[in-house]
């Protein structure tokens, strides 16, 4: 506490400290490395417990009254969960926004949230056709309206026929509306050039996150050295680490190769697997392709290697393919794990257990708020599948509006339909702008001394490496926070730009990064990148002093 108080005096962090209650400080320690044993965890908790005792003593002013649910009695796995994408930095951004709204002054006039892949919030327009179908499903009286195209009405009617009482207000079957599952299977077959897809293997979900959590929940079992280990890339999307913490599984990190465009290195997989086998039972490998936060697009050869590895080591494969339509680099192409698995031959295709995930939130639609998504489950033990259905049924069903949105994505206007032209134009314009912004981001960031950014081949993020001078690292340590958290908090305070520190995604020791989305409009993105550049240079100057020439 002493440290915190003394540092609070420093103007630069004075505001940032409001949110750094002892509790959130614990969560600033970044991705938890289970493989490092209990010490990390323990030290985090101890720090917190001391702080908590002080906090409650102050709060109650001596009049001690017990609550049933306190930090001491709270589910410890919940405590261990961390989710940086909406972590302290975002809370701080919200505070600043409110401050500005109330007339407060800052060196900037608005907060730009480049922390989350939320396309519509950044001004991307919805695809007209998708919204027409959803509106028709929501208020079927519109079927009589001449202002809606027949293609949209036809789809809406079909979806409603699949709904109980022809209403979006009824529950669907827990795996989703049957005709939508069939449309998804047909879409996958087409995408994968004829590789068969069985609609009964398709499960609609509440966003992809829900599907990922559900499958992980099935997989986690055992105690101590037989506890399920889950291999995840580092850097990763923190849903994975959060879910692993919540379920008390063992996180097994494999590091992506930053020097090689964040490619997955099969030797690193072997290393991580062998190391983890000493203390847990690695049973799952998670892949994010195209990568989040790293933006790489996996080559077909690399996917083959991963699948072969999974086959050899008997690992369950979870492939997060929510960015499958977001590929920008001309020499890159999206290959689905399912298709590659098929092409590897029946020995693989009939045995490797694979679940792949998709969502309405990304791609060219960016419909995050509808929480639509699906997963395709291959080679799952039939009895386990029955258990999966049972587990899904407890939550009744995914939101119907999201299911309807998903249906439009997999069954979009065809060339012979009237709406095709507009649909196609909207889709290409969104994807074209994203490709342009991907390039722009990479170029400008790489022009900044002390920032190095791999090409944004796909997805919606840049994850540049930033040089943080030793003096700044020390200062951060004194504050009990990760150096890149210090960097991002200062960036936010000084420029209003909200990005997420690399430590929230995991990174190699002593390397620092941040994740930013490429979603702001081109004009805004230009301004944003310019501000990042200016900030970075002045940050280096401030902390480097004489070392400046060496950068």
């Amino acid at each position: 506490m002493y440290r915190l108080q003394s540092l609070a005096a420093r103007s630069l962090i004075a505001g940032a400290l409001d949110l750094c209650t002892p509790l959130t400080l614990t969560s600033l320690t970044g991705v938890r490395h289970k493989s490092q044993g209990p010490s990390v965890e323990k030290c985090g908790q101890m720090r917190f417990i001391t702080a908590e005792a002080k906090a409650s003593a102050g709060r109650l002013d001596g009049k001690m009254r017990e609550k049933t649910l306190t930090m001491d009695t709270l589910n410890p796995q919940v405590k261990a969960v961390e989710y940086a994408v909406r972590g302290p930095i975002v809370l701080k951004a919200g505070e600043i926004e409110r401050y500005l709204e109330e007339g407060g002054t800052k060196p900037f006039s608005e907060v730009i949230k480049a922390n989350i892949g939320d396309a519509h919030a950044m001004g991307q327009q919805p695809i007209t056709f998708l919204r027409q179908v959803v509106a028709l499903c929501t208020f079927p009286e519109l079927m009589d309206s001449p202002s809606f195209p027949e293609d949209a009405k036809w789809r809406a009617r079909r979806i409603l026929q699949g709904c109980g009482g022809h209403s979006l207000g009824s529950y669907s079957a827990s795996p989703g509306v049957e005709c939508i599952r069939k449309d998804i299977a047909a879409y996958i077959e087409q995408r994968d050039e004829g590789v068969p897809s069985d609609w009964e293997n398709i499960y609609l979900t509440t966003g992809a996150s829900d599907g990922i959590m559900t499958i992980l929940r099935l997989l986690v079992s055992g105690k101590d050295s037989s506890r399920t280990g889950v291999m995840i890339p580092i850097p990763q999307y923190p849903l994975y680490s959060a879910a692993i913490s919540e379920m008390d599984a063992v996180q097994v990190n494999y590091y992506l190769d930053e020097d090689n465009c964040w490619a997955l290195d099969i030797n690193e997989l072997h290393r991580a697997y062998q190391a983890a086998k000493q203390h847990c039972q690695p049973r799952v490998i998670c892949i994010i392709n195209p990568g989040n936060p790293t933006g790489q697009v996996q080559s077909k050869k690399c996917i083959e290697e991963v699948l072969h590895f999974a086959y050899e080591e008997n690992l369950f494969v979870m492939s997060d393919e929510v960015y499958q339509d977001n590929v920008y680099a001309p020499d890159c192409q999206f290959h689905s794990f399912k298709k590659v698995l098929y092409e590897m031959g029946p020995e693989y295709f009939s045995s490797v257990e694979l679940v792949s995930f998709h969502s309405t939130s990304k791609g060219y639609t960016g419909e995050c708020g509808f929480r639509g998504g699906y997963m395709e489950v291959i080679n799952m033990d039939p009895e386990v599948k029955a258990q999966l259905v049972k587990l899904l049924s407890v939550r009744l069903c995914p939101p119907l509006a999201g299911q309807a949105a998903m249906d439009v994505i997999v069954n979009p206007p065809q060339p012979e339909e009237h709406t095709f032209k507009q649909f196609h134009q909207e889709k290409s314009s969104v994807l074209g702008a994203l490709a342009e912004k991907a390039k722009l981001t990479e170029q400008i960031l790489n022009s900044v001394p002390g920032i190095k950014c791999n090409p944004v081949q796909g997805s919606m993020y840049a994850f540049p490496r930033i040089f943080i001078p030793p003096k700044a690292v020390e200062e951060a340590k004194a504050l009990g926070m990760q150096p890149d958290m210090l960097y991002c908090l200062r960036l936010l305070e000084e420029t209003g730009i909200c990005v997420v520190p690399g430590s929230g995604f995991g990174q190699k020791d002593r390397t620092y990064h941040f994740r930013m989305t490429i979603l702001p409009s081109i004009e805004k993105l230009n301004v944003l990148l310019g501000k990042v550049r200016d900030f970075h240079i002045s940050f280096l100057k401030e902390y480097s002093g004489l070392e400046w020439d060496e950068i």
Binding site: D118, V284, P346, P399
Partner: protein, 528 residues
């Protein structure tokens, strides 16, 4: 396993697999994809290969989860529907699903105003359409202004859109006669189920004797037992008093708690009011007693109030736990930790598919609240259309607005029809010898007790079925009516029940009830 030969025995393979528990391998059949016949096939046409995820290796807690409302009986109902479609003859022409509180599926019409607002939000071009009333447009504009980028397609904050939380807080204040409600205590959710599971997740901790115990009513809505199994918490059952209209008896609570203290650490008490599956409406006195009990025993209260608008019986009234708590004075209102739940799926809306819901937390430790916010942030946000819907539910047309009359008429009609069906169900069922049904004071279900002859119980046991499952399966096969056996909700040993919804349209409900009557009489004759 060695005796298994050829492809034709697929069905029996499943049984073999179940029998092979503990061996860690599974028999895998080569799929007969044309052009794929590897050299690896064994002489039997199949080979052994380890599967990662099997019944032996999967999460044991998930295995323990049970959820009868969508259990085997519903799966059979779906199968029968398919058989009917294929033209297979049955003694009935359609399956009637009275197993789940799914109003729209049973023909209830959505409230026009709600859907207008949602359509406007989904496709804002309609704001120019003169066919939409101004009050719907103003609400849609307001909701969209609160969304990122003015779009339902943006994520909201994880706790839910702030403006909607404010509207909800105002609604609760009004409902509770002015007792204050802080928008910051409101969390929107993906249906009430999501919030209930989240709260339970926070509460579960400890090992052995110190493992969290959660008190739930028996009969209960099986979401509770399923969540407790999944979380590995200890279920503490307290029995509702069937002879006394399923009311809650404090001495039973006390008794259950004392027993439970011997082997776990009871920390939460769940109440469903109005009751599911039992349809009772709790008296104010009883709620006070429960609150006093929770305060004395330091139990976290979870009040599932999703049926708060569904009260039909004369003399019954819905009292929110929050209101009663605050009227009991500071001693309680500053002390008892309470989470109450609501949803768009029930009441007069019946909008299940939108998965809208919220919870209000009271007296939650501020640091725990931070943890709660963190936990919900991992799932990003509840579906925004569901949030928008909830906003109109708590902020419906006012007397001076153009949509008011239609709205009131639709709401009143829906609730009146439900009330009529509630009393009709009770009356007809009570005419059947061997069926005894408590009044359906509220909610959407009746949970009658059925007398099953010893011969039927014996036959069920021979089949390895719970007797009321046996009964409900037979009912389904012979009449096409899909109900849920009482055993899926829990009941006193040696008693049998089923849950049926009162949701089918009146004419259809009459037929359903007549068929049940006939079936039951025939069943009794057959087994006596």
């Amino acid at each position: 396993m060695q005796t298994v030969k050829g492809i034709g025995v697929r069905a029996s393979l499943v049984c073999c697999e179940a029998g092979a528990a503990g061996r860690g391998f599974r028999l895998v059949l080569k799929p007969s994809l044309s052009g794929i016949h590897g050299d690896t096939m064994t002489e039997n046409g199949c080979e052994y290969r380890d599967r990662v995820l099997t019944m032996d290796t999967m999460n044991p807690n998930v295995k323990r989860v049970e959820y009868a409302v969508r259990g085997p009986i519903v799966q059979r109902a779906v199968q029968i529907e398919r058989e009917l479609k294929m033209g297979i003859k049955k003694p009935f022409t359609e399956v009637i699903k009275a197993n789940i509180g799914d109003c729209h599926a049973m023909g209830q019409k959505p409230i026009t105003f709600f859907r207008q607002v949602l359509a406007l939000c989904s496709y804002p071009d309609l704001l120019e359409d003169s066919k939409f009333p101004e009050d719907a447009k103003s609400r849609a504009r307001r909701i969209l202004q609160a969304c990122g980028g003015g779009s339902l397609g943006a994520y909201s904050t994880s706790q839910g859109i702030e403006m909607i939380r404010q509207d909800i807080a105002r609604y609760i204040e009004q409902r509770d006669g002015g007792i204050t409600c802080d928008p910051d205590n409101i969390y929107l959710s993906t249906g009430a189920s999501d919030a209930i599971v989240t709260m339970l997740k926070l509460l579960v901790s400890g090992e052995g004797m110190s493992r969290t115990g959660v008190m739930i009513s028996i009969p209960q809505y099986p979401l509770y037992s399923a969540a407790l199994a999944d979380l590995g918490a200890v279920q503490i059952s307290y029995y509702l008093d069937e002879d006394n209209c399923w009311s809650l008896d404090i001495s039973e609570l006390r008794h259950a708690l004392q027993e439970a203290k011997k082997h776990c650490s009871p920390r939460a008490l769940c109440i469903i009011n109005p009751g599911n599956p039992t349809g009772q409406v709790q008296s104010r006195q009883c709620i006070e007693d429960v609150i006093r009990f929770a305060a004395a025993e330091k139990l976290f209260l979870m009040a599932d109030e999703v049926y708060q608008d569904n009260v039909y019986a004369d003399g019954c009234k819905f009292h929110s736990f929050k209101k009663v708590l605050f009227e009991m004075g500071l001693e309680y209102s500053e002390k008892v930790e309470l989470a109450s739940f609501h949803s768009t799926s029930k009441c007069y809306m019946g909008e299940c598919g939108f998965r809208g819901g919220y919870m209000e937390v009271v007296n939650l430790d501020p640091e725990v609240k931070v943890q709660l916010t963190k936990l919900v942030s991992v799932r990003l946000c509840p579906p925004v259309p569901g949030q928008a819907l909830l906003d109109v539910v708590v902020n419906p047309p006012q007397p001076d607005e153009p949509s008011y009359d239609t709205f009131i008429k639709e709401r009143t009609d829906t609730l009146a029809t439900l009330a009529e069906k509630a009393s009709m169900t009770q009356e007809i069922l009570n005419q059947v010898p061997g069926i005894k049904c408590n009044p359906v004071q509220g909610a959407m279900y009746t949970f009658p007790r059925i007398h099953l002859p010893p011969k039927a119980i014996l036959e069920a046991k021979e089949k390895g079925q719970v007797p009321d499952m046996f009964y409900c399966m037979k009912l389904l096969e012979e009449t096409g009516i899909c109900l849920v056996p009482g055993s899926g909700f829990g009941q006193r040993d040696g008693t049998y029940h089923f849950r049926m919804t009162i949701l089918p349209p009146k004419e259809k409900l009459k037929i359903v009830l007549a068929k049940i009557k006939e079936f039951h009489q025939h069943f009794m004759e057959q087994y006596s």
